[in-house]
Symmetry: C2
Subunit: 528 residues, 2 copies
């Protein structure tokens, strides 16, 4: 299928698939909007979550907004994420790999809908600057301002001209000033330090809101420095991203986006930004950080302000991160470490999609298991605090299945190791929050590595053989009983410790000849 | 509400509550019946599971049965278990405590429906002996015979006359012989060893099938030796259990049961019983065990053969065990160890309801945490292999909540200990199955104790404050969106590290006055 020409075509597509809820009633963007969408992350199953479009926003001061707000359209569920990737859920990893390997360069166009309205120079505040848009408060009761949550920040390397685009949150500080949470080694900060070194007082930067969803997905992916996320976005779409020149700065931006905020980031000053909710489930501390002085705002008519639901997991961003990390860990283990019997990698959403990692291997030996555990622990010091390796018959994403493996395939004294040097920087369990000073200090914690695989042949799984369960599931459906969603294991299977006599007795029983077994047993009575 | 007068009244009650599925089509008791009920344990949420009644059973040889089969009627779900206890789900622990503390003695009656039909002496095989009943095969493909799964075995202490009733599984070996899986220190075996010591060649025993559900529930509870389960069953019903004399042995049995099998257990011989599926999710090994020679079978007309769905968790028996152990651990910790800030105990179904234990405490200090961990590890050597202590805001029964605590409140190098000497006797991860010889050898494994509580004040939970989430949930309902089932945490709350300035800024933001904060921040710029 051809990729969506703009965000509006994508929204119409989501609606056609029953994946969009449109709220027409008046909604307070500050106190009602995010809490309403949040309900589904804490009260529904993942597969029931939808994207939300609000077309009648107000705020705490009773102001009305023309613009609409879109939430959850990138990753409220795996299915929605797959729609954003324009593929089926099971194709997501493959599609990412291809896009990363073969980016498609952007294409410059002369004009685009994102510049239907232009506010700059003396007219910058004509519609109120940033006040024009219904920018929601994410965590009412704790947040100190509206923040950008789905802002795609564009800047370029002053030496190579290669673009970077990253999703960085931004605190709205005035109608023409936005903070930017951005520390080294993030790439926008790398650019800024280069501008500073060259003696430039400012660095041009643009924040893109509401491009096609491929752009939002690449902006949250951690791609290597020097790879333009915009080109990878093109590869996801299968066609170059069309770019238009900014009005006040020397940058290009996606021509079909909803809103672009052009501006300059000073290279000599920092300001406080935050505190703001983090993926750990706790408010993250304030840091001295970058700011953007707005020089122009351009947008489509009746623009759509896009947000991501992030903060406490599960959330839209924890699902995005989970799908991304599963892919990165899978490829690293499979291709860089050649763990040829790797089956699947699952990160749990309640670990923020980052810290609780379960990896399944096909018939692993002890070498496979510990190579995988140590490899996974080495890949990303800030991720995967708890790593569990399981057999191929355990579903890494189903905690019931993982609990089963932990209870009956693992011995604590034998099968777990603690590794120091884990830098899960936002983990509040390492040191008290008051002990963290400065911007970049990362106290070190530890990782827990667990081998929850079978170490020898087991008796079979104590469930009816597959043929009987499948046959029963057919009767179940014929009787009109509720739809089944089987979790593994749901049928019995041989795990190596089961001999020909056991097999023979089971066959006799299913012929109604179990008294033969009873007679055999009676011949082998013992005193006791 | 008055307690059910017999199993049939209870079945009618379940039906009136929408908790019973009746299958009228012909069902093969050996290949179809258990797999069909099993479907719901692996393919539905706990709250969707129902009891099942089969009224048209056949078998692999094409035989027809008059009798019906009842499954899942004791604990397919917590709600059904509560119905069996004749209370609301949240009253289960209290009801158990009361029944244990104040048993009600049984009452002898002269006759009862369980003896509507009597087969004994020369007529014992007139209706085929045990062949008369549609006794299902539990795990087709692995089981070597039909087994009793909900047989309530009654025997009495030859010295004191005090009764014991326990649920022990039994392999059907002939129309008049049933095995009994029963090793010391189980109480029926204790009785049998006493008879043997006195020189008796046999011990009288009766197996009761299909009494009122209180009887089935006490039969699986592990009550102290010398407490008659029948009296505790009476306390659950709030009235004495009515008992009728057996026809061929010196024992009394519940007068309103569906079926009673009377017989004698030899005191001098043992026979193989098993292999059979265990709660661990694996087939359990065969052991040399007891057997019952049937002397009489009595039953109601059109009798109902009751079964429990056990074997691989989740199952009816893992739920029964879970609810029982949660209560036992709670009372031990709260009352015997005086952990006054104990909040809740949860066992996970996929640990067979026995091995994965999460305990929440109210504002615990380190002393509370480790006293609780060590206490829980000491209570039952064969249970609670993994024990995790969490704060009061973590739901012990929700693995998502527990994963959140493990990821962000626990440091492996600091907060976990391994304890040797854990005797989870059926755990196949301790030694290879071939290394286990004899009946009673229990190899020792280890337990994992984890402190997943906050050690100091944290930043608040990064979700909207409760008032905003509650308000949003009302809008959600008004919009006709799908019913919400909130999991904790679903709103933000203070965890101690949040000062007056943070609070003030959040208030300003909700008045639309966040630019004041922006101005304050701008006055405190730094070079950088």
């Amino acid at each position: 299928m051809k990729y969506y020409k703009d965000l509006r075509e994508y929204i119409a597509f989501l609606q056609s698939k029953g994946q969009l809820v449109t709220i027409h009633r008046e909604i307070n963007k500050d106190t009602e909007l995010q809490p309403l969408v949040r309900c589904q992350f804490h009260g529904l199953q993942e597969t029931e979550r939808k994207a939300f479009l609000f077309d009648n926003c107000t705020d705490v001061q009773g102001r009305k907004y023309n613009g609409r707000v879109l939430a959850g359209a990138h990753a409220a569920s795996t299915q929605i994420y797959a729609y954003a990737m324009n593929c089926r859920p099971e194709q997501i990893p493959e599609k990412w790999e291809k896009a990363r390997r073969r980016p498609i360069r952007t294409r410059r166009v002369e004009s685009g809908p994102v510049q239907e309205e232009i506010h700059m120079g003396d007219g910058l505040l004509a519609h109120g600057g940033l006040e024009e848009f219904p920018i929601p408060i994410a965590t009412p009761g704790f947040d100190n301002a509206p923040y950008f949550s789905a802002g795609n920040w564009i800047s370029k390397d002053p030496d190579t001209g290669i673009y970077n685009m990253g999703n960085y949150r931004g605190m709205v500080k005035s109608p023409v000033k936005v903070g930017c949470d951005n520390l080294l080694p993030q790439h926008l900060r790398t650019h800024r330090e280069k501008y500073k070194k060259k003696g430039a007082a400012t660095m041009p930067a643009a924040v893109v809101i509401g491009p096609t969803p491929n752009v939002g997905l690449v902006a949250v992916a951690k791609l290597p420095y020097g790879v333009s996320e915009l080109d990878v976005a093109g590869a996801i779409a299968g066609a170059p991203l069309e770019m238009v020149r900014c009005q006040t700065i020397d940058l290009e931006v996606p021509a079909n986006a909803e809103i672009v905020i052009e501006g300059e980031i000073p290279t000599d000053i920092l300001e406080r930004e935050g505190p703001f909710g983090e993926y750990t489930g706790y408010i993250g501390r304030a840091k001295m950080n970058l700011l953007l002085n707005v020089t122009a705002i351009t947008h489509r008519k009746n623009p759509i302000w896009n947000i991501f639901i992030s903060q406490c997991p599960p959330s839209e961003s924890s699902l995005m991160t989970r799908l991304g990390l599963e892919n990165i860990f899978y490829n690293f283990l499979k291709h860089d470490l050649s763990v040829t019997n790797l089956r699947a990698v699952g990160f749990h959403e309640k670990g923020g999609g980052r810290q609780f990692c379960v990896i399944s291997l096909e018939k692993p030996n002890q070498g496979d298991v510990w190579r995988t555990l140590n490899g996974a622990a080495s890949l990303a010091p800030i991720h995967a605090k708890i790593i569990i390796v399981v057999d191929e018959d355990i579903d890494p994403r189903d905690m019931g299945s993982v609990v089963w493996a932990l209870c009956f395939r693992m011995q604590p004294h034998r099968d777990l190791r603690v590794s120091p040097g884990k830098a899960t920087s936002l983990d509040p369990s390492i040191v008290p929050p008051a002990d963290i000073k400065g911007n970049t200090e990362n106290p070190y914690g530890s990782a827990l590595l667990i081998d929850a695989t079978r170490k020898w042949d087991y008796y079979p799984v104590s469930l009816p053989k597959k043929e009987y369960m499948e046959h029963a599931a057919r009767i179940w459906a014929e009787e009109g009983l509720p739809a089944l969603n089987f979790k593994e294991p749901w049928f019995g299977y041989n795990l190596g410790f089961w001999n020909a006599e056991d097999e023979k007795e089971a066959e006799l029983a299913l012929k109604g000849q179990h008294y033969q077994t009873g007679e055999k047993i009676a011949k082998n009575q013992i005193k006791g």
